[in-house]
């Protein structure tokens, strides 16, 4: 018994070291965001910064709040629109017994795995033709399309947990599919839907490639603003660090909520927790 406790204690210490490897780089950037340009690259390093030094954040935010708002609008809208499209489809693929539903589900899934870079120019031309380039609307549409396959599959994996008898019973009582969807399936899968929403939110929030193609000035998202800071000849690292910290806050906070369902989400619902 004693030997096993000692073994566990050693393993716990090793696990802490491992955790540190994955935490330290981010922590170093966080500390950097509270340093002046000189302190950021001082030798020997300034290990603990003065946390009351928030100039990096104030300067950066005053320059970029517009892009941050763009990012929030695009992310929130595309998350909502993705769910509006995906949830009914996931419900249908789970409960409607029609021929070819496996094929349809596979087809939807496979569109998820196609590389976005291969769609960028055709979409660019399409939106140019529709006069929608450099608009948040275009970004919302594209992000929604890229997120639907994921949302359909993962929501379906949660809908499958609903006992089929329950659906059957309501059908016999004469409830419409809309009623079953809204009054039974959605309430019973609240946790799962929240998981899907969080994933979709983070995917849209993190997106860079499509935004690089589509946004010129007005509709720039926050990641585009950050990457533009780095292509300047002289990088103002204080601002970059502050922007990186702000960009990282939503994914980090939301990951805490994902905890139990993260494996399930990352494997598109294939692995249950």
């Amino acid at each position: 018994m004693k030997a096993s406790i000692r073994k566990k204690a050693i393993l716990l210490i090793i696990a802490s070291f491992i955790t540190l490897i994955f935490l330290a780089p981010n922590l170093w950037m966080l500390f950097g965001s509270f340093k002046s340009q000189n302190a950021m690259f001082a030798l020997p390093p300034v290990w603990i910064p003065d946390f009351s030094y928030i100039k990096n954040f104030t300067i950066m935010l005053s320059e970029s709040y517009k892009y941050l708002i763009n990012s929030i609008i695009v992310t929130v809208c595309s998350t909502i629109v993705s769910l509006i499209f995906s949830l009914p489809t996931a419900f249908g693929l789970t409960f409607f017994k029609f021929k070819g539903r496996y094929f349809l589900a596979d087809w939807i899934l496979s569109t998820r795995m196609l590389p976005p870079v291969a769609a960028a120019v055709p979409l660019f031309i399409l939106f140019k033709y529709l006069n929608l380039l450099d608009s948040l609307f275009a970004l919302v549409i594209v992000y929604t399309a890229f997120n639907i396959p994921f949302a359909v599959w993962v929501s379906a994996s949660f809908f499958k947990k609903i006992p089929y008898d329950l659906i059957e019973a309501s059908r016999i009582e004469g409830a419409s599919w809309f009623h079953i969807f809204l009054k039974i399936a959605i309430p019973l899968s609240k946790g799962g839907i929240a998981t899907v929403a969080i994933f979709v939110f983070i995917f849209s929030w993190n997106e860079l490639l499509i935004a690089l193609f589509f946004t010129v000035s007005e509709s720039r998202t926050f990641p585009i603003f950050i990457s533009a800071q780095v292509s300047q000849a002289q990088i103002i690292w204080g601002n970059v660090a502050a922007a990186t910290v702000i960009q990282s806050i939503p994914p980090i906070l939301l990951t805490i909520f994902l905890q139990k369902n993260i494996v399930s989400g990352l494997t598109l619902g294939a692995v249950k927790n």
Binding site: K8, L12, A15, I18, T19, F22, P25, N26, W28, F41, P44, P45, F85, P88, T89, G92, F98, L104, D106, I108, L109, M113, L114, P115, P116, V117, A118, A119, V121, P122, L126, T144, A145, F146, I148, S157, S176, W177, F178, N206, L209, L212, I226, S227, V230, A241, T244, Q247, S248, P251, I252, L254, T255, I262, V263, L266, T267, L268, A270, V271
Partner: protein
């Protein structure tokens, strides 16, 4: 009340139409564009040249072949590292899963997965700053190694990209394999104990066979991500030095959007697409199998 059939169509049809227009059409249009010589800035002046874009890309120029080679080199190295380290980490976290504190550690460990790839690139760009970064300070003071431009020399740049990629995704492999280890029935461990099997036997005879489908799933999902590797390259090396870290997605972006050669760019996009389709077919089959026979629960 609406007719049953119409009701059902309303659930499914809108998504399919949406995906057709925004997802399938663009890929087909890419195939079409790849047969033309065209500039993004002068779209009306494009002309048909057949397979010439592919010819040039694959056989007459060595940048794109290098990009393909680099993409797969980075993918295979990163995924191998991720599996080995991920398995070790999964084992450690599996052993201490009943200790409450280990949950907190695990949550912190998996954070890189969801982090904006752009930010991951920036964090390492800051750390790897050749003269004044913390990495060169530690190398210099602890190991006495002279600082140099880690992202400015071909081999170190490649290694850095693989390291950054693995740093972000090893935690993914860890939690996936951890989920796999959880499926091993307790009786099997007990039986092995009674038979006096050592840890090596337990690992090779019990654990590895039962998590194999998880490993496979992880490899395929990661391969799909690696084929579209872009953000980290874009922010750290931009494919450089020279073409040492050029990858397929970045090459396509550069060709289409920096040189505006959308014919050539589309051809390279189509080649990525074909490679993705092959991997995707495997992935979809695998996901289906895993999901249907509930083998992973």
């Amino acid at each position: 009340m609406l007719n049953e059939k119409i009701q059902k169509l309303l659930f499914i049809l809108p998504t399919c139409l949406f995906l057709l227009v925004i997802s399938i059409f663009p890929f087909l249009y890419s195939v079409y564009l790849s047969l033309f010589q065209a500039k993004l800035t002068k779209m009306h002046k494009k002309f048909f040249i057949g397979w010439e874009n592919y010819q040039v890309l694959l056989f007459e120029d060595d940048v794109f072949p290098t990009a393909i080679k680099n993409t797969f080199m980075i993918a295979f190295s990163s995924i191998t590292i991720e599996i080995i380290l991920g398995f070790i980490m999964a084992k450690i976290f599996f052993e201490i899963r009943h200790i409450k504190f280990s949950n907190a550690l695990r949550t912190v460990t998996i954070m890189p997965i969801m982090l904006t790839p752009l930010c991951v690139g920036l964090v390492f760009l800051y750390i790897l700053n050749p003269t004044l970064g913390i990495f060169s300070y530690i190398l210099d003071t602890v190991f006495g190694i002279e600082p140099f431009a880690y992202l400015g020399e071909p081999l170190p740049a490649k290694i850095s990209i693989i390291a950054i990629n693995s740093w972000q995704w090893t935690p993914f492999m860890m939690i996936l394999l951890l989920a796999g280890l959880m499926t091993v029935p307790n009786e099997q461990y007990e039986a092995a104990k009674i038979d006096g099997a050592n840890w090596f036997h337990v690992m090779t005879k019990i654990e590895i066979p039962s998590i194999l489908s998880f490993v496979l799933l992880g490899v395929v999902l990661r391969l799909i991500e690696c084929i579209r590797l872009f953000d980290i390259i874009y922010i750290t090396t931009r494919g450089g030095p020279g073409i040492a870290t050029e990858v397929m997605a970045f090459f396509t972006y550069r060709t289409e959007f920096r040189s505006f050669q959308i014919g050539t760019g589309s051809a390279s996009a189509v080649i990525i697409l074909i490679i993705s389709l092959i991997v995707t077919t495997i992935a979809v089959t695998l996901l289906r199998r895993v999901e249907r026979n509930e083998g992973l629960n």
